[in-house]
Amino acid sequence: MAQESAQEHPISVYFIVWGALFVLSAFSYMVDYLQFQGYTRWILILTFMWMKAGAIVAIFMHMRWERPALIYAILGPPLCLLVLVGFMAVEGDFTSLTREMFFGVSNVFDAAAGSGH
């Protein structure tokens, strides 16, 4: 318990973050409600998502008051997931392409095959 004494903060910090999370969630919802599309939509979604995630981890989960040894041990490993996401994105793209070619969903392959008729 003695170790926790450094973790007392004025309650106002939590109210501010709480309010910010509400506002950011409202913004996220507005992205859909106002029907932003394409890159604007994706950038807005990701921006609000990371801001919310950052506020929750840093303040609500007290991460910003932890010692760097713990912070790096917990927040470092998830970076490996970027590799997984990268690989799976490439793979998904490739699968999509082969499906289009062999199942003839788009006309990429049909056009080539059709020229022989």
Partner: protein, 231 residues
Amino acid sequence: MAQEVVTTADQTFGTKPGWEGVVADWSSDRQTFPVHWGKAMMWIFLLSDTFIFSCFLTGYMNVRMSTTDPWPNPSEVFALTIFGNHIPLILIAIMTFVLISSSGTMAMAVNFSHRRNKKAIFWLMIATAMFGATFVGMQAFEWTKLIVEEGVRPWGNPMGAAQFGSSFFMITGFHGMHVSAGVIYLLVVANRVRTGFYDRKGSYDTVEIAGLYWHFVDLVWVFIFAFFYLW
């Protein structure tokens, strides 16, 4: 337990900035994380849970990218008609606000746990659990609507790509299970606060550890909301 001398981790282990501090904490044959062991283990559990949810979301990304069928529009699938007004995605928006409210009450509970205000901790944790139960209830409603009215199944749906149902039930189901488990966890800890269990133990660390779990559940929802419902 009830030692009079208060020493902080910083006093015991020093405060070297950044990587210098990391190296100092990991070396010299001593405890690396000078925090309650339960807190360190909860963080490590949450790290593993991060990988599980990330695998689900990555799998979802992969099938959504690779399917040649049109992806059902979540904005329309999760729309509700309230008092004659057709509002897109409204149920999910309300669920998001409910979960954020619960995170707020939990943060307050943890804050009061440092001051050992039992009554405040207890009621704030009960409020958190109630918000959580409300969330699960709304999710049950959402699932029922999707299965009964929209005909969504894990293997197919009338609106487009079959993978929509598979990812949806897997991801939200696993998250809902976490919320349900969290509600039980919170109720157990809240009851122990009420009965003075942690006074006898001399430590309210468990409240903070339960808080970490609960905030994580909210954190996962942030990502599900962004990637599954909004994307």
